[in-house]
């Protein structure tokens, strides 16, 4: 509990760390969405005969 209160300034410390974490998580999600969409667009232009799900094979490895 002491750890989280940070001398009673937990708001500032965890506000910083929280924003940092949130920004990075959001960025990772957005980038992965973007590459998924790009790969889907490639599949679409190659014709509908493309089996779905293939694009996850490499995007899943995206920045962890």
């Amino acid at each position: 509990m002491d750890f989280f209160s940070m001398d009673g300034r937990g708001f500032y410390v965890w506000g910083s760390f929280g924003a940092f974490l949130a920004a990075i998580v959001i960025e990772i999600v957005l980038v992965r969405l973007r590459i998924h969409r790009a790969q889907k667009a490639v599949c679409d232009t190659l014709g509908s005969a493309d089996p779905s799900g293939t694009e996850n094979s490499d995007a899943g490895k995206g920045s962890k």
């Binding site: 500032y12 410390v13 940092f20 490895k61």
Partner: protein, 244 residues
């Protein structure tokens, strides 16, 4: 010439795909180590108390914000001189991450300032220059997004970043000059009190983590950009065929 092989988007795409997990993993491990050092091992600062721990993300963010702009300027030079398409794509891939780190530096700086100096914002030289750096990122992204023709957007963005990067030292100098003239709040974040070795180590490790993260996320984004641009190129079809 083998180096130039990878300046073609078609060969860079798979290479970047192979590199992303490595840099991503490295970033994750470093971040875990750095945060452990920063939050649990490093001692409390005898002047600022616990709140100084913001340093472990504030300083790396500020560094990355500046460093990424510098890297973009280098790519800008390559894009304009050697006309390599990939350099411009790398710029476009780096800009959002650089902007994010710059914004985070401002945000964490404000949250640090309030308990430490009693105000969220001081017009101190470093904070002010970081704010201007954020404006430079905004300008670049706005310009590149506003131009439909990708070829033109690449070159225009590169020229803007080049002009901006020449201006950055002048801006820093002028802001510093202005700050001393007004004898305003000169905020010294790291000087004054000697940093414990563990503090320094934690900060450096976190900076390294941010660096690796930036590489991973930029490589991932550049892959998306390559696919978006080369949607109709022949090699893209080959890649999909290999994968299917």
């Amino acid at each position: 010439m083998s180096l130039f092989k990878y300046s073609a988007p078609s060969s860079f795409y798979p290479l970047a795909g192979r590199l992303v997990p490595w840099f991503g993993t490295l970033a994750f491990l470093l971040a875990v180590g750095g945060l452990y050092l920063g939050l649990f091992v490093a001692p409390e600062d005898y002047q600022q108390g616990e709140v100084y721990r913001i340093i472990f993300i504030h300083v790396p963010s500020a560094w990355m914000g500046m460093f990424i702009y510098l890297v973009m300027a280098m790519y800008a030079l390559l894009a304009l001189v050697y006309q390599t398409r990939l350099s411009a794509m790398m710029m476009e891939a780096l800009a959002p991450t650089g902007m994010m780190f710059t914004a985070l530096a401002l945000w964490t700086g404000a949250l640090w300032g309030k308990p430490t100096w009693g105000t969220y914002w001081v017009w101190d030289a470093r904070m002010t220059s970081t704010l201007i750096l954020l404006f430079l990122y905004v300008g670049y992204m706005a310009l590149v997004n506003a131009i439909d023709d990708k070829k033109r957007a690449d070159k225009a963005g590169a020229l803007l970043v080049l002009v901006g990067s020449i201006n950055v030292p002048i801006i820093y100098f002028s802001v510093k000059w202005w700050n001393t003239l007004h004898q305003g709040a000169s905020v010294s974040l790291t000087q004054g009190n000697k940093m414990a070795a563990t503090m320094l180590a934690g900060m450096l490790i976190m900076a390294l983590a941010c660096w690796m993260y930036s590489i991973a996320v930029a490589l991932c984004r550049v892959r998306a950009i390559i696919l978006e641009r080369e949607l109709h190129a022949a090699w893209v079809k080959d890649i999909r065929e290999v994968r299917t």
